[in-house]
């Protein structure tokens, strides 16, 4: 990649710009793949020009420490969910029924309210507005959209469940509790849309033998959603 870019440094300005944008797109996707597959591309990109951040396409975002970190973590996830459902309603998938549209519009509004609530609550401590990357989602396909929705909702539930014990303020803990059950209602509903009247609304794939939902630590959640956001989110100090 770098070789290609360097071979272009002597070319015309316009050409260089086009190439670097394309390279960056490729880089971002490769980086996403690399993390998911435990591969190699990141180390190849540490040197020189690949480190340059192009505005609006991906920044380094640090969530912060302690309860502020937890709130920013929630704010980050809600931003992704809100952006996802906004897109779902803006470009409905083929064959979306009225009933499905009502449900998905409700969920969109809930996620936007969550997002705006965290933004307001965090004030100057809030992280920036993230740039989502939904390139991997085919928004024209019902299966793809509801599949992604299921992943986002289950992930949201697992994230809030895993973050609960990191929260120090009882007020914030209660707030997280008020939101996570709504996310679980979403998850149940999306799963039922995918496989109506089956056990899937709380299927064995997500609920264990003790009847427990998942609880997942921030680092694992951030790794799981990495491919859906252009910014590089770090949350090593969340809750600490």
């Amino acid at each position: 990649m770098n070789k290609i870019m360097k071979s272009h440094t002597d070319s015309g300005k316009q050409e260089e710009k086009v190439t670097s944008v394309v390279n960056r797109r490729l880089f971002l996707r490769s980086a996403g793949l690399a993390t998911s597959m435990g591969a190699i591309v990141l180390s190849a990109c540490k040197d020189d020009d690949m480190g340059t951040v192009i505005p609006g396409t991906g920044d380094a975002v640090e969530l912060g420490k302690g309860d502020i970190g937890v709130l920013n973590y929630a704010y980050a996830l809600e931003q992704l969910e809100a952006a996802f459902y906004t897109q779902v309603i803006a470009t409905p998938y083929t064959g979306m029924t009225d009933a499905e549209k009502t449900i998905l519009t409700d969920i969109r509004d809930h996620e936007i309210i969550h997002r705006e609530f965290f933004k307001t609550a965090l004030g100057t401590n809030a992280i920036k507005g993230l740039t989502p990357n939904f390139a991997a989602i085919d928004f024209t396909s019902r299966t793809a959209v509801l599949g992604a929705a299921k992943l986002f909702e289950d992930t949201g539930v697992a994230a809030y469940n895993g973050a609960g014990k990191l929260i120090k303020s009882t007020d914030y803990l209660l707030l997280a509790g008020k939101i996570v059950s709504v996310e679980a209602r979403h998850a149940s509903t999306i799963r039922d849309l995918l496989n109506p009247k089956s056990a899937d609304f709380a299927g064995d794939d997500i609920i264990n033998a003790d009847g427990f939902d998942k609880a997942v630590a921030p680092a694992d959640i951030l790794a799981a959603v990495k491919g859906y956001v252009k910014d590089t989110i770090t949350g090593a100090s969340v809750g600490k």
Binding site: D109, T170, T189, A202
Partner: protein, 266 residues
């Protein structure tokens, strides 16, 4: 240098990447979670951890016995419903079998974890002193009581989160059960909407709207518009209905026990 060739090549790679990214991310996520759960999934290990924590917190024992009371009630309710002939239509069996399975598991977990501190199962009156006299013969009543019990469970667990803040591992278990109750509540409410042709009833709670008047206290306070000290009216130009749906509210132990009281004979 052929710029168009390069872009073309990139697009080819991009096309592959999109599909692989989705697959790989999902697989990665499930693997990670899967291994986590697998490493702690044996009930006896759970129980040991909880027992250790109990030694340090009488408050936790109290909360879990309170939870156990509600789980005993739910478990008995679904056992009776699932066993009743001609109550649950075949199309909906999978739903109630699944809910029942989870409630049985919750009881088993709590009993094991509490050990000798576990309360005995109360004697229940599933008719709620006659208010739901046909609960095991009329599917509409059964679905309404199911949704009411699940919505109560969600509020009850939520109300105890703060009490458990000093017992992080037990708090996490409680949260893991809490969201399962919410999944149950959502599906039960959607079934309620179907069997009653009530389009206004959604998986989420709008305002303080009760499914049936007899259980209004389960929904009191759900119309709260103020979160974290901020009145959210008009936030992002969303309706009051949406704002109240976006947040579930807690109930105190006293309020829950008052609601559950008519189910408990002794």
């Amino acid at each position: 240098m052929d710029i168009f060739k390069i872009i073309d090549d990139f697009q080819k790679i991009d096309g592959d990447a999109a599909g692989r990214l989705q697959y790989a991310t999902r697989r990665h996520f499930m693997n990670r979670i899967g291994s986590k759960v697998a490493s702690v999934a044996i009930p006896s290990i759970f129980a040991t951890v909880v027992n250790k924590a109990f030694a340090q917190s009488a408050a936790a024992v109290d909360v879990l016995n309170y939870a156990l009371t509600l789980e005993y009630l739910e478990d008995e309710f679904y056992k009776a419903g699932n066993a009743a002939a001609n109550l649950i239509p075949a199309s909906d069996k999978a739903i109630f079998t699944t809910i029942g399975k989870h409630e049985t598991a919750h009881v088993a977990f709590l009993v094991k974890a509490l050990g000798t501190a576990a309360i005995k199962k109360p004697t229940f009156d599933l008719t709620y002193k006659g208010a739901f006299a046909d609960v095991l013969t009329n599917y509409k009543t059964f679905v309404a009581v199911s949704a009411a019990l699940e919505d109560t469970g969600v509020r009850a667990y939520k109300g105890q989160a703060g009490v458990l803040i000093a017992d992080p591992q037990i708090l996490e278990y409680a949260l893991q059960v809490h969201s399962v109750e919410a999944r149950h509540a959502a599906i039960a409410r959607r079934l309620f909407a179907v069997v009653n042709s009530s389009a206004a009833t959604k998986a989420w709670i709008t305002g303080k709207e009760a499914l049936i008047a007899a259980v209004q206290p389960i929904y009191d306070g759900e119309d709260n518009m103020t979160q974290g000290g901020v009145n959210l009216k008009g936030l992002a130009s969303k309706s009051d209905a949406a704002v109240t749906e976006a947040f579930d509210e807690p109930l105190t132990k006293a309020a829950v026990l008052a609601i559950a009281g008519p189910f408990i004979k002794a």
